[in-house]
Subunit: 347 residues, 2 copies
DNA sequence: TTGTAAGCGTTATCAT
DNA sequence: ATGATAACGCTTACAA
């Protein structure tokens, strides 16, 4: 069905070389000839075969983005940013969703070795075991981590967002809101992101000098369900002043559990999430969250990847800053518990 | 860097054919030999070159899903379903986001002609102009529409969800809830999906015998912003009993506008959306919506695509049924306006 | 059981 | 300005 340059050449009684040159705007073809070739190519509905081209040229105009959970709106947002940046450099984006499954992640890394994509941006943690299963040489030369830290030892390139700083902002904010007993609801216990956010929280509380105590639970998943379960476990022992959930999905789960107990979010308990996905501004009580600079992460990741692929440099690791977005889930608590000279009037 | 079968063959002093056979579990290789080949392949970190393989075999283990707006959670949900179905048949999913841009859509269709993917599932409308820009023969033989209707004339294959039925369910429900003046907030005026939902609404109202009037506004985008603007325009003329928004994004925009006017959603005005995305269950007043059977749409689309690709049949168009999920945004209205013998007790 | 060789559709390097 | 022709890495008849 699909026409080839050979067929075009046959029709016109010229060589395939001429056709190729004409179609690719290369010099060395007469203007008349070029037009003729163009016309018959159009007539035959010619579309260049991607694989043949990639095979000989060694170039693939695809870039892969690997995300762990596409139903977590944070990742579509990141995807949008990456896609935009990629389009600007003439590359199309392939989105791979691993669903947090390690075999799918390993499979995704193979895309690089098998040259299905020119480069890969990975937005979930890579551990040593995964890296063992692939050729590190190949991988490290076309992979950029986004939003997750590079495993020690591997000289992997990454664009990070400062999770500790984000946690710290939350810590300070919560203390300012008058919270004392603070609970942390985390992601997987082995997740550096989760750990760093907790660590930041601790630091933030300390800085503020408010004698605050932390309780922390974690149970292995960045999901709403997990948030619900952790809150459930938490409430058996205590009702904290504030809960910091390591991402928005968890926060929403926590909120559901609180509502079930008749605890008013924002009044009874302050609540903060992480990622600032769109939904947290839509919930019955809008939830305070930490916004990641997705647009910058995306464009920087694409830029670094481009540099690596063109062999420019080793890798310029980058760390960006997140920013707290305060909403009713904490502000309301603040109004009830803090004597704020100016703000008290407005409440 | 990346090893080739030629190198493996060289190392072992055998022919490339033997290596190929050994690696692909084809008959005609001694067990000893096969093991030797396997071992050196592993040592050299061999990964088959995707393009070379596709070039000769004509097969590509990729399937493309084209969505118009990845930040609309309906599409990630669909993607998940398609991905699952694809994985079951050994294919990986490539997700293309067009951002509602026609050039990106045209570009996506080229993936098929250029054999970057074996088949394409498209979840946004194709019009004649777009189809003109590609070879219809090629396209119609490897494309399945999902959730959108096939343009007349083209024998394109599609998996539809009955939008009219969905609209009808909403219409009946709204009348049952005691609404009389009903407004429709639509997507793009030329969108069959939007039109069908409106048409269904009209029918549903008629069936119920409730003398209900419809006002309809539409302005070109399936976005929250558009919902907000349309509600704004609407409120200049009237405050309806109920508003049916053609998708959840619009519904959320509408809700934002209502809240700004101090109109209590569910009490002052009933509200219904479409798609039943996760967020509508999380809003301050949970929003009634129509759930599409995404899982079925996904698996059916993949199945039909598989049949087409293996040349089994022309195409068995399918139409699935959506189902209304009633929530407070309408139920509360109902409790206030309807004398329902049984339900009144429970309220 | 193994080797030889002919493609697959391009691009690119020579000649002419 | 155009034509042969050799790659690219792999699969697959066809021989041996």
């Amino acid at each position: 069905m699909a026409a080839t340059i050979k067929q075009i050449a046959g029709r016109l009684n010229v060589s395939v070389a001429t056709v190729s040159r004409a179609l690719n705007d290369l010099p060395g073809v007469g203007e008349k000839m070029r037009r003729k070739v163009r016309r018959t190519a159009a007539e035959l509905g010619y579309v260049p075969d991607f694989h043949a081209r990639a095979l000989v040229s060694g170039k693939v105009p695809f870039l892969g983005l690997v995300v762990p959970d596409i139903t977590n709106s944070f990742f579509p947002a990141l995807a949008l940013a990456v896609e935009e940046a990629a389009a600007a450099s003439g590359q199309s984006l392939i989105l791979l969703n691993t669903n947090w499954r390690r075999d799918r992640l390993a499979q995704a890394l193979e895309l690089l070795s098998s040259r299905r994509v020119s480069g890969l941006i990975v937005a979930e943690p890579l551990d040593a075991a995964i890296l063992d299963s692939v050729d590190l040489e190949t991988v490290s030369n076309g992979l950029v981590l986004a939003g997750v830290e590079a495993p020690g030892g591997t000289g992997l390139c990454s664009v990070m967002v400062d999770d500790r700083d984000g946690g710290m902002q939350v810590g300070r904010h919560l203390v300012e809101c008058g919270a004392h007993r603070i609970a942390f609801v985390g992601g997987p216990s082995e997740s550096p992101n989760s750990r760093d956010r907790l660590e930041g929280l601790t630091i933030g509380l300390g800085i503020s000098g408010g004698a605050a105590a932390i309780v922390s639970v974690t149970d292995g998943a960045w999901t709403e369900e997990s948030g619900y379960r952790q809150a459930d476990r938490l409430l058996r022992d205590m009702v904290p002043d504030a809960i910091f959930a390591a991402n928005d999905l968890l926060a929403i789960g926590v909120m559901r559990r609180l509502v079930e107990s008749g605890i008013a979010v924002g009044r009874g308990v302050a609540l903060a999430g992480y990622d600032d996905t769109h939904v947290v501004s839509l919930t019955s009580v809008p939830i305070t969250s930490v916004a990641q600079p997705t647009a910058q992460v995306g464009s920087l990741a694409v830029k670094l990847l481009g540099q690596m692929l063109s062999g420019d440099s080793g890798c310029g690791d980058a760390v960006l800053k997140p920013s707290l977005v305060a909403r009713s889930s904490t502000l309301e608590f603040s109004n009830l518990h803090v004597l704020a000279p100016r703000d008290a009037q407005g409440a």
